[in-house]
Amino acid sequence: MKKLIWALLLTPMVGLAADEPVNVTAQQFVDLQQGNAVYPGFRRAHAKGICVSGEFRSNGQLSDYSKAPVFQSGATPFTGRLSIAGNNPTAPDLKAPVRSLALSFSISSTEQWRLAMNTPPVMAVADPHTFYQQILAIQAGPAAIKQFFSEHPESKEFLAWAAQYKASGSFASETYNSINAFYLINHNGKRQAVRWAMQPTVTVATTDAQDVDALQNEIANRVVAGNVVFDWVFTLADAADDENNATKAWPDSRQKITAGQIVINNTTAQLEGGCHAINFDPLVLPTGIEATADPILRARSSAYAESYRRRATEQLTGALKEPEND
């Protein structure tokens, strides 16, 4: 409580001190993400996606580490979204470098949990302002991005992952990573830093399909034929690991706990399903899980809110138009 009072009283000062030139605002960040072609009513990032739903079947293994009720053994339903990175809601599925899974557990009127996960296990950079420079470099072309990575040695692990990563032929056969670390809080108030991954239970070979909606069609058909299942695997940090640096993976030898399975049993087009209305802000957390100070994680709430505000207001004023595939 004391911390919150100081935070409120001291914000005016922070404002005066925060005039370093490299700092970008949430608005500038979202402007850069949305680019010149704005698609009213759609997410400014990960604009193309498909709604999914199903349940988390918890085996109870994590309940010693977190008091969050979802980790008691039993099933909790979710609304989710499978998406690809980018600002264009009609982009070809197979051209996107990153695939994503987002989940929302609406547990009760006082407990909500939102998760947004990507295929890479680490970030190339450790803070949002450098991330902004990285996106600028990507937009400027191959020479600029090469230059950027050479000036940012912290991107080494990300580049090593990217060099060996082969996109598969399905959303069902990818691994989705939390990337950022969180704290689990147990009944005794003990805190444990963790990262997690949704690990696929099927393998699907790379495809050379030409269809722009190849991944969406594939997953819709697959779910009709049977449930799509992921193992939810947590990695526990030990004292040597830095939970606040999203560019560094923790050693493979760290303890891993499988908390249960994510079971997808339904898909719906995003404008018809329940996922479009949700802001999958990873800082919406239930009791028993807390945010680390990771600067990337901390940057996400206000950027997601800015994107959400823009698209929600566009939807309210009727500006959302379903774009044609081209």
């Binding site: 919150l4 409120l8 009760s108 006082t110 909500q112 802001n279 600067p295 929600a312 939807q315």
Partner: protein, 174 residues
């Protein structure tokens, strides 16, 4: 109207306490929506809790106000000056309610429960209603702009009374 010279102690405490709180809330709100830095989450959490406290305070303040006499405005003010003083004060009260109520409803319809110092949580909708969220999100901003303008006018008027008219209006609140 009455023969009191000053606002009662309780009214002065409410006035200056809330003036400080509202100033901090406005500053926190404007800075946090722009910031990508580590303190954003902490300030956002504080903003919501203290916003909820603000609605409790302004309710108590209004009850307190309606039960007491307040100093009469100076006799040399014209009819419309007295009217605008009264209207602006009631508008201030109105916005002191509208700010936190729109903030809470924005969070409610975005299905984001509000954590109160880790003690308990205020409820939110189970499912997101993006239209109603958008409405209250925009109203929260519109009310904030209106409140900022009105406070500027209010401070201007208080200083005008003190420095130019040299009457007792500002002193009645000190």
């Amino acid at each position: 109207m009455t023969n009191t010279e000053r606002f009662s102690l309780s009214m002065r405490l409410f006035h200056w306490g809330m003036a400080a709180l509202v100033f901090a809330m406005l500053t926190a709100g404007l800075l946090m929506v722009a910031s990508l830095d580590g303190w954003q989450l902490t300030v956002l959490t504080a903003h919501k809790v203290f916003g909820v406290i603000a609605v409790l305070l302004v309710s108590a303040r209004l009850i307190n106000r309606l039960r007491q006499a307040i100093p009469a405005l100076p006799d040399d003010l014209s009819h419309w000056q007295k009217m605008s003083a009264r209207v602006s004060h009631w508008l201030l009260y109105g916005l002191l309610f509208a700010m936190p109520v729109s903030g809470y409803l924005m969070q409610y319809f975005a299905a984001r429960p509000i954590d109160v110092f880790g003690w308990f949580r205020l409820p939110a909708a189970l499912n997101v209603d993006i239209y109603t969220y958008a409405l209250f999100r925009e109203l929260h901003s519109v009310f904030a702009i209106a409140l900022i303008c009105l406070i500027a006018l209010h401070i201007g008027a208080a200083l005008h009374h003190h420095i130019i008219r040299k009457d007792k209006v500002l002193k009645s609140m000190l």
